[in-house]
């Protein structure tokens, strides 16, 4: 009896410690975001638009947000560009990844092993190495500066076949006997792929599309390399990073915060809604490699 009582208190203490740690962790994890949101409500007109040494604005104001929508800046255009890129990249990458994964998972053809190994090796080269070369390749097709948006989509989609690991791992877990049964019934490979495998792959499709959709919001390195000298081709990351890093934009910090919030909201909401699939994808990917 006493022992049980003892255990119970120990459990209670243990839980209390766990809760404290969790709350502490939550504070640390949320703190930057809270700061970001708070600072976005500081007015750059009546207060200071740059960096300050206090956190809570003296007066709550929507000036920074108004600025973004006011047309004084092309923020909406950049936001639209990013959205377009994200949507098309999500569609294109998913299609490419599904094709490659199916071929590699289900079909055995000459050069398959070689192809997989070769792509693995290619993936070990750092991406920035090739930026200048990609820029001139794109330029050849007229897809830089003003044409940066389709250019960025093209590059992201074209190289996406190499990212098949997670998806192929998922296909590998779908029993091959299903395919074979369908093939005996006279279905072609294409029919199996479109009619059977794809409907079975909802989680992995969502995972692939979600990760593909999220990446362009963060792409500032290559995007700025492709779009330089034409702000109609910028995405939000490129444009907003200029507000922070170049000296031409004085007092834009609160506007950066406001823009950041506007970028973060849809991506975060989407992510949280589809979290389940994301977890499935990364877990599967982690185990399969």
């Amino acid at each position: 009896m006493a022992k049980q009582h003892n255990m119970r208190t120990r459990k209670k203490v243990g839980n209390a410690v766990a809760y404290t740690v969790l709350i502490l962790i939550s504070i640390i994890w949320l703190f930057p975001f809270v700061c970001l949101v708070l600072q976005s409500f500081r007015s750059y007109i009546t207060e200071v638009g740059g960096m300050v040494d206090y956190l809570v604005p003296k007066k709550f104001s929507l000036d920074s947000y108004k600025f973004l929508f006011s047309g004084e800046t092309k923020f909406l255009k950049w936001y639209g560009n990013t959205l377009i890129i994200a949507v098309f990249v999500a569609i294109g990458q998913t299609a490419f990844v599904l094709c490659v994964s199916y071929a590699l998972s289900r079909m055995r053809f000459k050069g398959r092993e070689f192809l997989m190994r070769f792509w693995l090796i290619l993936g070990m080269f750092p991406g920035f190495l090739t930026m200048i070369c990609l820029y001139f390749l794109l330029k050849q097709f007229g897809l830089t500066q003003a044409g940066a948006v389709p250019g960025l989509i093209l590059i992201s989609v074209a190289s996406s076949g190499m990212g098949y690991y997670v998806c192929k791992g998922y296909f590998d877990t779908i029993p091959k006997s299903l395919d074979e049964a369908a093939r005996i019934d006279g279905a072609t490979r294409a029919q199996v792929f479109f009619g059977m495998i794809i409907p079975l792959s909802k989680p992995i499709i969502i995972y692939t599309a979600l990760t593909a959709f999220m990446a362009p919001w963060c792409d500032y390195v290559f995007a700025s390399y492709v779009a330089f000298g034409n702000d109609n081709g910028y995405n939000v990351a490129v444009a907003m990073q200029r507000w922070v890093w170049t000296n031409d934009f004085q007092g834009y910090f609160t506007r950066f915060c406001a823009g950041g919030v506007l970028v973060a909201i849809p991506v975060t909401v989407l992510f949280l809604c589809l979290q389940k699939y994301y977890v499935e994808g990364v877990t599967g990917g982690a185990v399969k490699g």
Binding site: W29, F33, L36, Y102, G161, T173, F193, V244, A264
Partner: protein, 459 residues
């Protein structure tokens, strides 16, 4: 032993090529006139057999190839030895005429070489096709050909576009940049107004040179930090992330979903916002320092970003903030897969929490997540975003050359060289080094891992 194997493979490859060429010879010797003509006019044989789809494919390839070479490829390919000789210049009215563009000469020469190889390959298929079909009575009809692309040869259909994409936008640029490592392409040899040319192994010598302005010492420092970083970033995140997952999984903890969601926010919010912001928070005059000073906890600002050692530690810590949620997500599900009985019996045996973790949880997790650890490690070797968005590799030092800083990874150093200094030749060399490091580590670890060896085992 591995060496022998490799040698064997190489000789086998040569033998195969030899045999192939011999086969071409016999095809020609034994072929009928249609086959022989197909050597010159591709697809001729197919046309005579009414395989129009194939015929057009072969003939089309040949026509396109010739057009490409005549109109485009040849004029670049001829200059590949020099990468151009004609410099741009002004005329009497200062109107400028651009000369040879070394960059494009190299780029399109490589493209042309690829296209030639691809053409030879298709030509070979054309020859083989003729040989296979010349004596057959029934050959696949056009309809069969097209149909097979959706069935037995569906892989070709599926892979055509992705492979073309990788070929043009991944492989071609990589080969190009490898070539750049052997040229003097830098700020003073910039296309299109200046020419650059081949210099052999000059840049590699510079990389290991320890003279003033040589990259040897800096390369050593950065490589070491890159490895240390990747190690700590991977394993600190791994263990602490797992700890957090265990904590949330703990019986009696409520709102599990909420805790996870809070952590997962860092994955969802684009890093260029969160990391840029966090980087500023830790500046000498940033929020963290000013509040610590306001509260009187410290007298002088903590040099988070300006002291080399502290900057490295700060980055590792902030990386925990980024990385723990990932590991938490991955391990949460896996932890629940461990049979409860194992823990029960351990408890009965009197094992404490740490012992059960060490004896049961860890071995299982390490086994299952081995591939993740490997990809995470190689990912961290090239973790550009966190370093660059937080502090751009600072602080620099006179002890390091080439604009490198103490928190620079090889990949951020490479980026700086490309974008700030347009020192493409050294950037290319460093890129090759990054590849070598990644490849060696992957190879070593890959061969140790038990769970990746048997690919078919999962099916």
């Amino acid at each position: 032993m591995a060496d022998k194997k490799k040698k064997g493979k190489v000789t086998a490859a040569f033998k195969a090529i030899g045999a192939d060429i011999k086969d071409i010879g016999t095809t020609f010797a034994q072929g009928d006139w249609k086959t022989r003509l197909s050597f010159l006019i591709m697809g001729f044989g197919s046309f005579t057999r009414k395989q129009f789809v194939r015929g057009f494919a072969y003939l089309g390839t040949e026509v396109l190839f010739i057009l490409y070479m005549v109109l485009f490829g040849a004029k670049y390919l001829k200059d590949i030895g020099t990468l151009g000789t004609v410099k741009g210049g002004y005329d009497a009215n200062y109107v400028y005429t651009y000369g040879d563009n070394s960059f494009l000469i190299l780029l399109y020469s490589i493209l042309s070489i690829f296209i030639i190889i691809a053409f030879l390959f298709i030509w070979r298929i054309n020859v083989r096709d003729n040989r296979n079909n010349q004596n057959k009575l029934s050959v696949p009809s056009n309809k069969d050909d097209l149909k097979s692309l959706l069935d037995e040869r569906f892989d070709k259909t599926l892979l055509a576009l992705p492979m073309a994409g990788v070929f043009l936008f991944v492989l071609l640029p990589i080969v190009f940049m490898i070539c750049i490592a052997f040229t003097n392409y830098d700020a003073t040899h910039q296309s299109p107004t200046n020419l650059f040319t081949w210099v052999g192994f000059e840049n590699f010598k510079n990389l290991v040179s320890l003279k003033t302005g040589g990259f040897g010492h800096t390369f050593g420092t950065i490589l070491t930090w890159t490895l240390i970083w990747a190690f700590f970033a991977t394993f600190l995140n791994y263990f602490l992330g797992m700890a957090v997952a265990i904590l949330i999984n703990k019986k009696g903890i409520k709102f599990k979903k909420m805790w996870r969601t809070i952590l997962v926010m860092t994955i969802a919010i684009p890093q260029f916002i969160s990391l840029l912001y966090v980087g500023k928070m830790f500046a000498a005059d940033g929020l963290v320092n000013t509040y610590l000073m306001k509260w009187g906890w410290i007298k002088e600002a903590i040099p988070f970003w300006t002291n080399p050692t502290l900057a490295r530690i700060t980055i590792l810590f902030i990386n925990l903030w980024v990385g723990i949620p990932y590991v938490m997500l991955i391990t949460t599900g896996l932890l629940m897969n461990i049979p409860e009985e194992l823990y029960e019996s351990a408890k009965i045996d009197g094992a404490n929490a740490f012992q059960t973790f060490r004896k049961i949880t860890l071995p299982y997790m390490l086994f299952v997540t081995g591939p993740y650890l490997l990809t995470s490690f190689t990912g961290n070797l090239n973790n550009f975003n966190i370093i660059f968005l937080l502090n751009q590799g600072k602080p620099q030092s006179l002890e390091l050359t080439g604009g490198a800083g103490y928190t620079d990874l090889l990949v951020t150093w490479l980026y700086k060289m490309t974008v700030n200094d347009t020192n493409y030749k050294m950037a290319a060399v460093i890129g090759i080094m990054v590849f070598v490091v990644t490849a060696v580590i992957s190879l070593v670890v890959y061969n140790i891992l038990p769970s990746v060896k048997d690919e078919e085992g999962f099916q």
